[in-house]
Amino acid sequence: MTGEEILKMTAAELGRKIKTGELSSEQVTAAYIDAIKAEDGKYNSYITVCDDAAAQAKEIDEKIRSGELTGPLAGVPIAVKDNICTKGILTTCASRMLSNFVPPYDATVVKKLKDAGMVILGKTNMDEFAMGSTTETSYFGPTVNPCGTNKVPGGSSGGSAASVAADLAPISLGSDTGGSIRQPASFCGVTGLKPTYGTVSRYGLVAFASSLDQIGPIGKSAEDCALLYDIICGEDTKDQSSVSYDGVNVENVTGFDVSGKKIGIPEEYFGEGIDEDVKARVMEAVKSFEAKGAVVETFKMPIMEYAIPTYYIIACAEACSNLSRYDGVKYGYRPEGVDNLMDLYIKSRSEGFGMEVKRRIMLGNFVLSSGYYDAYYNKALQAKALIKKAFDEAFEKYDVVIGPVAPTTALTAGESLSDPLKMYLGDICTVLINIVGIPAVSVPCGNDKNGMPVGMQIIGKHYDEETILGFAANYQRG
């Protein structure tokens, strides 16, 4: 089998071939490492490539041969977003602040990947501290969209999505706080799952907004996402916000039948500001479900108007607290020539953080500062209660809710950095899902007139990953 053939396979196919001995992990890993070396200069999807990948693969091959490792993705390589801690491997969050940080511990998901026999290829590029929708705020330079080199890959998990889209990883891990898995998956034409809050441990995920952050898979198919999700999910004693959860049955996902299922289409998801091509592609996909016997109904979700304010208040408030620990004292960037403590704090943070991070820290400080707490933060928590109620009501009627992932396809590089508000408004379709903590999957559903991928977002109720991944797999089966 040629390297080229290996790179085109899904993670599930690679896992099966490694299991039967048709391929070895070493062979597959080598194909990817070679490809990264040859091609990633164009995309900048990786910040760090693991130089021990071949050694990991060799060890895993032995365990597969001895029967110690039997999982469906044993031996399959994976790329990990650079805000997920890897023991002994640089974990930078794409920030100057952590540009030299080597964690002394593995994130729980990384432990699970290792236990499942997956090979860690490297750490992927992202928006600094996951703040952004374009992967242009990275201290290590922007990632380029493999589907259109003048386009952004989306963000913040732009490197994780681009590496899969460019065949530089068969599958990857991203994190999603307000759309950071789904939107880049959509922009790069791959599949991405934002799981139910609490089903995947956040231990070792460098926190952006703790009540919204969730790690999830990005892959070439819904089946790949289901397989990886099943590996990383589960209660973790180190994360008390995690819940006991059995995972998904992958056969139920791949064999999913949509007939008789009810799909809700929120009108607001197709309203003003949504690109016509995006609307058309998503509605075509919905029609295809209808043709297979699903029942489609539109409904109103007026609370969506308040999604962005609610999200940015909560996210920035939590972020400003979570990012206060980067003070030059314990780890990370420490400037030269500091003569007092205040100087150490201010110089470390002013020089260590990029502008978007600073902006969000200032916004967070504003909404939490005394005198404004009730008008902003507390109000946002009340809005959160109302948004949850709206979704609870929708899921009394529908099995899934479908809309676009983003109002547009991938933006041209450099376009949104100049207007942060415009960038924030691009998150309109994704942030609600994080506020409520429900799962959603981003599925490619055709291209716009310029050939850039469009993503459909399938949203489910809490813990119902099987259904949304089932819809996605059903769509991909055709």
């Binding site: 809050y197 008390q240 916000s241 940015y312 314990k330 002013s350 500062s369 928590l381 209660a385």
Partner: protein, 95 residues
Amino acid sequence: MEITAELVEYLEKLGRIRLSEDEKDRTQSELASILGYIDKLGELDTTGVEPLSHAIGHVNVMREDEVTNGDMQEQILANSAETKDGAILVPKTVE
């Protein structure tokens, strides 16, 4: 909500961040437009709505009182810029 230069300076102080003059001006207008949009939330009627901090409603998650961690001094200090005798050094704190 009017975003003044003083407010920007106050937020810099709270966040231990110093902006250049250019950045200050830009931030002032950006914050004004973002907060202008965020203020929309004020229109939403939330009378009598209990604030929801955790969307997934589980409670009483606790661990047992057991010491399982050993000495990690070396690993913890490995990322520190300046250490002495097992401690991290910082500029003198004022008493």
